[in-house]
């Protein structure tokens, strides 16, 4: 089961990123440009409430990738855009690598989850058909 339980439509990929709403449940007014399932809302709220989580980004796949929603200062502004591009590129490289390895045999293989431990942080990426969820956290 995917971590991203998005089943609704993104009506416009060019929507500006939401401001972060770390622990609140966003209102369901018509100003919300995408339909978020309650499961996704819950997952994102839960993520943000973890003290070790520095932030998350929900991205819409495409060229260029767009930030649908984010939380955490680390993903603000230009830095966030850079991060989004890097996350998208990593997922593409891994997926292209799998395709090369499987060489069209059978039905191929798909990336389900990526965990990147760096000297400072841990970046977790959960790809979906049309979305990417990236979470940055600080391991203790």
């Amino acid at each position: 089961m995917s971590v991203i339980g998005v089943s609704s439509q993104v009506t416009s990929a060019g929507n500006p990123a939401f401001n972060s709403q770390p622990n609140g449940v966003p209102s369901s007014t018509s100003s919300a440009p995408i339909g978020m399932t309650p499961e996704l809302e819950q997952t994102l709220a839960l993520l943000s409430s973890h003290r070790s989580v520095l932030g998350y980004m929900l991205l819409s796949r495409g060229h260029p990738v767009s930030i649908i929603r984010h939380s955490g200062g680390v993903f603000d502004g230009e830095h966030g855009k850079k991060y989004a591009g890097v996350v998208a590129r990593i997922v593409e490289t891994v997926q292209a690598g799998l395709e090369e390895i499987n060489g069209g045999e059978n039905e191929g293989d798909d990336v389900k989850f990526l965990r990147i431990r760096t000297k400072r942080h841990e970046l977790m990426i959960s790809p979906d058909g049309r979305y990417l969820l990236a979470v940055l956290h600080e391991p203790s």
Copy 2:
């Protein structure tokens, strides 16, 4: 601490890959072209003894990447070479991404460990300054 505890020198990057010796401790005759630390030997033997482990590859970083040693049919021959290239490319993409994100600030960040869960397998990559250890296993 790195999973790869290689401290000795690779005397020639062009050495042919070793045949796999899944559970045995390789002889220490002069025919062994690289110096393997006992810790690395132990780690590789332990890895191979796990039933869920389909194989490992110890790679020497460089262009092109070369297979120092491998185990498991999945990493044999051309398929193994393809895998090695893909593993190296993934690590390079992640490392380049980190450099882009950190933009030369401070001392930068480094990839320590990568875990890629796919529909079928899990690929774990542990990069070192000059080596890469890749392990493919089948989660139950």
